[in-house]
Symmetry: C2
Subunit: 276 residues, 2 copies
């Protein structure tokens, strides 16, 4: 996938969560018409059926750029590992090269340090299977405001350290502007991720304030916040990465609107923020 030559223009991929309540089939068909990729989510995929979704994207000729989301394995129980293996199977079946992993928060009775050890253990249990199925596990560092209850992996450097014991084909990282833009080490982190061949997913969302209660659904449309997307594109491209760029916005106001409208607005915003 990474070897395909792309202009910035046609690197756009629409993450289904940006229009969370839009029917998966309609979203796939809109992406097909626009020449965009799509990032799929497990819940709608399972609802439609894994094989049916695989046929849908194949018939539409749409590139699946990632499957979201597995992980939640800071306490790597047999159940959580089995669920992650199912997610790897789903990604392989629908042709997603990348499975996005959000680690989960601090388990009851644990500390953030013990939770991070749990993530390392879970990866060692899953990486061989991912390699076998041809799916890259993409560790997503989430913004530190999620560190206790959603994702103990908080920086690109930490994600890369967790990925380091495994081949890059098995374990990579997600470079998502929303989660890492504040990091004084972000440019070094991106350069390192690229040099190590670990950029398994590149995502855009803008940072806007004030944050809503619970902070999950406050991501901004591209251009509405403080993130310099052209700089991110330049820094990531400088590493040799030529893959797709997914736009993934968790935003209550966007979710309340019709999918086709959100898709069109998001594609236009993407083209605007990356225009020279």
């Amino acid at each position: 996938m990474k070897s395909r030559d792309r202009s910035s223009f046609n690197r756009f991929s629409f993450n289904h969560a940006t229009a969370k309540f839009w029917d998966q089939r309609e979203a796939v068909e809109a992406c097909a018409r626009a020449g965009a990729g799509i990032g799929l989510w497990r819940e709608p995929l399972q609802e439609a059926g894994v094989d049916a979704t695989a046929k849908l994207v194949k018939d539409a000729g749409v590139e699946v750029t990632s499957l979201c989301r597995a992980g939640f394995f800071t306490d790597p129980t047999p159940e959580s590992i089995a669920d992650n293996r199912r997610a790897i199977d789903e990604a392989a079946t629908v042709g997603a090269p990348t499975l996005v992993l959000v680690s989960g928060g601090i388990p009851a009775g644990g500390t953030i340090d013990s939770a991070r050890e749990g993530v390392a253990e879970a990866l060692s249990l899953l990486a061989p299977y991912a390699l076998e199925r041809g799916v890259t596990l993409a560790i997503e560092p989430l913004h530190p405001m999620f560190a206790s209850d959603r994702c103990v992996v908080a920086t690109l450097a930490e994600a890369l350290d967790l990925a380091a014991p495994f081949p890059a084909e098995a374990v990579g990282v997600v470079v998502d502007t929303y989660h890492i833009w504040w990091d004084p080490q972000v440019w070094q982190g991106i350069a390192r991720a690229g040099a190590e061949g670990r950029i398994a997913s590149f995502q855009f969302a803008d940072w806007v304030t004030p944050l809503p209660a619970g902070v999950l659904t406050g991501r901004g449309q591209l251009g509405d916040g403080c993130i310099d997307f052209r700089r991110y594109l330049a820094e990531v491209d400088a590493t040799g990465f030529t893959g797709p760029i997914e736009v993934e916005l968790f935003n209550d106001a966007l979710w309340a609107r019709p999918g086709p409208e959100v898709f069109a607005e998001t594609k236009a915003a993407f083209e605007r923020v990356i225009a020279p």
Copy 2:
């Protein structure tokens, strides 16, 4: 101050913001009765008068452990620098060894990188005067959820890098558990801060979720969240630091309650979380 020998028990200092609407005089007198220090804030201090406040704390025999808060100089204008010099004067007058600095967010038209350069410039303009007045400027890294609109300094390592060009007597850092607990490099950061003699303030607040809208007033009472205070105390003490520990909680529910009640609860919580 750091040379005074203290047991953990009598290192407790009550930051006035924990009972924000409590009269400053009453708060000082409660601290005096309890043998606690106090962290003062500029607004109530200015309202009561700087000299009157200096007399109040002297007569009460209360140790002022810090003055909060100056900074907001990512765009270091003559006005913002002048205000910071006034804050240094206020700290010197009331006998606060430390002036806490929150850097401010990204100025209009700027980027987080340019804002960080502004902070470095502002420090170079202020450090000589702080040294002259015997006040240590304490750069406070705030949680990255505040990085765009309140404080572009997001990690202990970054604060230490900003402090590095100046003598430790002039520029130190704040170690506040609430803001740094998520950082995979936090233990290294604390060790470095101690080794460089830069721990100018040590503050406790607990991390609890869900965060409220705007995220400013969601700090948890000690023991209600996920932070291991005994570990922080041990790591900071291991550097040789023996100074006071301020408890500073921004919390709407606490602010709605009577000051004496909040003070008693906070002191008891402090003793509980540091008990062996």
